[in-house]
Symmetry: C2
Subunit: 365 residues, 2 copies
């Protein structure tokens, strides 16, 4: 059953909507958007400090399986004790009128369940990437949020970062001419024991975790959707870490215009995130590209043959958690003003489809 | 019919060898190796200035279809007028005892013919990359040089450059740990009218001309031979330049150990040559990597977890034509001391086989 917000409003007049979506009422005007944080790991901590810096958002509830940890963080963020939930009583968040939205920062395998439960509780959802562990889960998440009339945004923080926005602006303005090719990579040498190494929890290896940054970047840089993929996976280190997920993925992809991208990702090596974009009249490099701070854009382009080049070298001076602040502010703005987020569920679904294709072509070889 | 130098020597004793290889006699000891330069274009000019700086080589003959140009260069290099050849009388170079070796700097389609003719004239051959236009031509060139008992080296100048040698040393020493992945690219936005755009003369597009640098680099960096390739080609600009060769190639390749590389090349964009090598304990970047000067190596690696990183930032201070000097000195050393060059014909043949595979997999998509 799919309900639009308008349909729910109509049902509300009939006294029916309340049974389906107890907290569906729009966020009261004039106050910051209240977030419940689901999963209190490292990224949630950064997100919360981003919210603390924001003008239009605040942390109002916590969801955790660790009461002590939750209490400690609650004190820090002045979250009342009765707004601390665990995974059993989470659904009762529906009646908490301070909670407008949830931020899902759980292991990937739990994204779908908690997005859907939050939607059923009438809360908007900001879900970390990768959106889920399968295309089917992504589709269910989108459908649930649509049914509940809540917004769904995926945490593609790079799309809210001024360095990447500058790269996109340069490309769209024609400064570097017709794009031809992109190289990109992102990875790290993973410690044993991380949940990321368990395919059931992670959905895949470095591709879904960090390779997704390169994949997503090639899409926002080109403004196109890739039409075809060719890929390899490999595992070099047989040290017990890579029993369910791959260690490396290398892939090339072709966009409809003919632009191509060549990318790597790894869980076995030191791989600072970067991209290089090559156009007829110039190039752009962002490196480091995908971490939380220290981004730097360099570019060189020629207005005309023989003209003096324009050279850019622009380190991004912002510090952690600026990306998360901007991301939260965008989602809160969307909630407060009834507009769609720039990176909705459909954006996460697309990447998940491409990731499935990359794994498929790698497996076929 | 294949003859080793030893077999020829034996035949010589029987008065037979002279009929097959008139100038086979070893270079007289104690003088620099004398080179005939075949093709007097841009790269030949740089090579000759490299020879001028060298300790063990000199320019002693020229082969050109442009007598005026040849005379001008001959004056500059003190080449006697009777050591200027054209493409018709080239074979008479066999009797020129000053000429020990030839440097083949012709369009790719002529590499095979002039390498084989030079070998038949008893001259050692240093041939520019790409070695030829086909695997079959490469095999013929190797066979001809073997038959004639002359050395054949391919002009892979990067393999003689201290920056690349430093990268190789770092990798072999284990500084950056087990390699996982490499990204590399090289290309440029080509002017219309170049012979490189004519497949008959060039043998292919940017892949054979500049992509070959990335291909060869992945091999000398890993010390392995790639086992498999997946690739795309594309042409974006329909402006008359790309009627017989492609504009872009993007490929990924897998090495036997599981190391992977993702590469791009273009004739349609600004693409400074570079590579990034990712190991378990660190990374190396060389950028710019494949031009004649201005190379720069950066690296960061950790001796152990938690140890302070070692950081390198080493611009190569050498200027054009240092790479060509080093390359010529190596070949002359090999000739003078009867040792095999580091980049023999077999090295060029391997790249040509891989290039053929890359084109094949791209065409199959």
């Amino acid at each position: 059953m799919h309900w639009t917000r308008r349909e729910f409003a109509k049902l509300g007049g009939l006294g029916i909507a309340a049974r389906f979506a107890p907290a569906l009422a729009a966020q009261p005007a004039g106050r910051p958007t209240g977030y419940a944080i689901i999963g209190l790991g490292r990224i949630a901590a950064i997100f919360m400090s981003g919210i603390r810096n924001s003008s239009n958002s605040r942390v109002v509830a916590l969801v955790s399986g660790h009461p002590d940890k939750a209490l400690r963080i609650a004190a820090d963020y002045r979250v009342p004790e009765n707004s601390i939930y665990n995974y059993d009583n989470f659904d009762s968040i529906a009646t908490n009128q301070q909670v407008d939205a949830v931020y899902v920062a759980l292991p990937n395998s739990m994204h779908a369940e908690y997005t859907i439960r939050a939607a059923k509780a009438g809360k908007h959802v900001l879900c970390e990437k990768p959106m889920a562990n399968s295309v089917a889960q992504c589709e269910q998440m989108i459908a649930s949020c649509k049914s509940a009339g809540v917004k769904l945004m995926i945490g593609y923080r790079c799309q809210y970062d001024p360095t990447h926005l500058k790269a996109i602006d340069l490309i769209r303005s024609g400064a570097i001419g017709q794009l031809q090719a992109i190289e990109s990579a992102f990875g790290f040498n993973i410690q044993p024991g991380e949940w990321r190494l368990d395919k059931k929890m992670a959905g895949g290896g470095p591709l879904v975790d960090v390779g997704i940054y390169s994949l997503n970047a090639t899409r926002f840089l080109t403004g196109e959707e890739p039409g075809d993929f060719k890929a390899y996976t490999s595992t070099i280190d047989h040290d017990g870490r890579f029993t369910t997920v791959e260690e490396n993925v290398s892939w090339t992809m072709k966009f409809p215009s003919g632009i191509m991208a060549a990318c790597n990702t790894t869980y076995g090596g030191q791989m600072e995130g970067f991209y290089r974009v090559h156009g007829a009249k110039g190039w752009i490099e962002v490196s480091s590209a995908f971490v939380y701070e220290g981004l730097r854009l360099r570019a060189e382009y020629f207005a005309a043959d023989g003209a003096a080049p324009t050279r850019l070298d622009e380190p991004n001076p912002a510090h952690i958690p600026y990306q998360f602040q901007t991301e939260a502010e965008h989602f809160s703005h969307c909630i407060q003003n009834g507009v769609e987020p720039k990176t909705p569920g459909e954006e996460g679904l697309r990447d998940m489809r491409y990731i499935a294709e990359i794994y498929k072509t790698a497996a076929a070889s």
